[in-house]
Amino acid sequence: MTNGSHEELMLQVQRGNMAAFELLFEQYRLPVFNFLYRMVNGERGSAEDLLQEVFVKIYDARKYYEPTAKFSTWLFTIVRNHCLNFLMSRRYRQGRQTISLEAMTEEHQGKVGGTGEIGELLEQAIGRLPDEYKEVFILHAVEGMSHQDVAEVLKMNPATVRTNYHRARTILREKVGACLTRKGIKNELQ
């Protein structure tokens, strides 16, 4: 994700330049959508609703943006908080779903095989991570944010971000590894 003069564009938005906001939307709609999409475990409808809500929220919050903050971290802070509120209220309404590793393997019985199966299993395993690991993993490993920027978005100590990231990766390795072993797919890694 390049940053360029996104801070300057946001200052122009504050001065009423709608075209500047459209440029920012163009630049960030995909990273934001992909973050939301993975946070809601690939529910396209929810991710699309959240995308709309979150960009309206960002527009409404334009006057609170201070140029001392990196625009991408300011934006993702709003995106992440909005998404967590959505997830918390949904869990409150429905009760948290837990899906076992076995169920995950069964679910993808027909899909595993050939190249790309690690990516396929990885995508599924990311969906099953606890939120605090999932968000760190998506922002750093998938969206390419630095640990420092992730720490700013999550309002966390960079050391905690690093720890959560390595825990996420360890869980993912265990889950993906177990699925591959179960399916007898070892050749690719040897």
Partner: protein
């Protein structure tokens, strides 16, 4: 170092974040343990795979709805249907000017207050617009007398917006 200890540190090892002593121990264990080496390859493969996971895109409908919602928020989408009484925002849409312009002309525009809210009767607005049209016509005629060629068919102007 046993396998469990090695696997616990594998992620940091792959990112070169371990101190020299720990890194040396992990390296030594990996050299003699094929099972952990396989886990190391899996970890490295996952790092590459994470960066190249499918980039999902929102649907066109979602994008149009989102830009529509933002434009509406920014007052760029104007209402076109109005009841007999308008509020401040509706008045701006009705006259097709920015809210700031309404603010500048607020003392002039016929209005009434109800429950602390400033309201505008459409009928009174029409009469006010008519008076503005008459004033504008007179002004234009006067200008034409001094400058014969010019803006014979130009429309009503409020706040510089026609």
């Amino acid at each position: 170092m046993n396998c469990n200890e090695c696997l616990k540190m594998l992620s940091e090892y792959c990112d070169h974040e371990l101190d020299k002593t720990a890194a040396r121990e992990v390296k030594a264990h990996l050299k003699k343990c094929p099972a952990c080496r396989q886990q190391q390859r899996l970890m490295e493969s996952m790092i590459v795979d994470a960066m190249s996971l499918t980039r999902h895109a929102p649907s066109m409908e979602c994008l149009l709805n989102t830009t529509g919602a933002i434009h509406k928020r920014a007052g760029m989408v104007r209402r076109t249907e109005f009841g007999p009484v308008l509020d401040f925002d509706e008045l701006a849409d009705y006259l097709r000017v920015d809210r700031e312009i309404i603010g500048q002309y607020i003392d002039e525009i016929p209005s009434f207050e109800l429950g602390g809210k400033l309201l505008f009767r459409k009928k009174s607005l029409e009469a006010w617009i008519e008076s503005k049209e008459t004033g504008f016509r007179l002004q234009r005629t006067e200008k034409q007398l001094h400058e014969p060629s010019g803006f014979a068919n130009e429309p009503l102007v409020i706040g510089g917006v026609s």
